[in-house]
Assembly symmetry: C2
Homo-oligomer: 70 residues x 2
């Protein structure tokens, strides 16, 4: 679980932007195969330095995450 | 997009249960590889009759969705 206050309300645990801020700035909300959610920019940045999920540290490559249409 | 009123607030588009109702009843919130979100029960039920995503109709098998930890 992330540290968000409202369960079910999406935000990026890296930049802390809310769903609405992510979408309005042209980013996507993405989910990894391990089930963790980020904004597309933060996850892309993170994968340039480490091929692991920023939340759970499982192996993570480009083919292992996808946009979330919510 | 689903018909939810609040963007970023999770619900199941099949049973219309909110995130909190899904979790409290012991179900999981799951995401398909095509990026669509359901409660685990509705998606499981749907896959017994059709191997496609209930939202976008793309091919969908058991290995193509995962729990969402949000
Ligand atoms: Zn972010
Ligand atoms: Zn993860
Ligand atoms: Zn449901
Ligand atoms: Zn779909």
């Amino acid at each position: 679980r992330t540290s968000r206050v409202t369960p079910g309300l999406i935000s990026c645990p890296i930049c802390l932007d809310l769903y609405s801020e992510i979408i309005e700035s042209g980013r996507l909300v993405v989910s990894t195969k391990c089930g963790h959610v980020f904004c597309s920019q933060c996850l892309r940045d993170s994968l340039t330095s480490s091929q692991t999920c920023p939340t759970c540290r499982k192996k993570l490559t480009r083919s292992m995450y996808h946009p979330l249409y919510i």
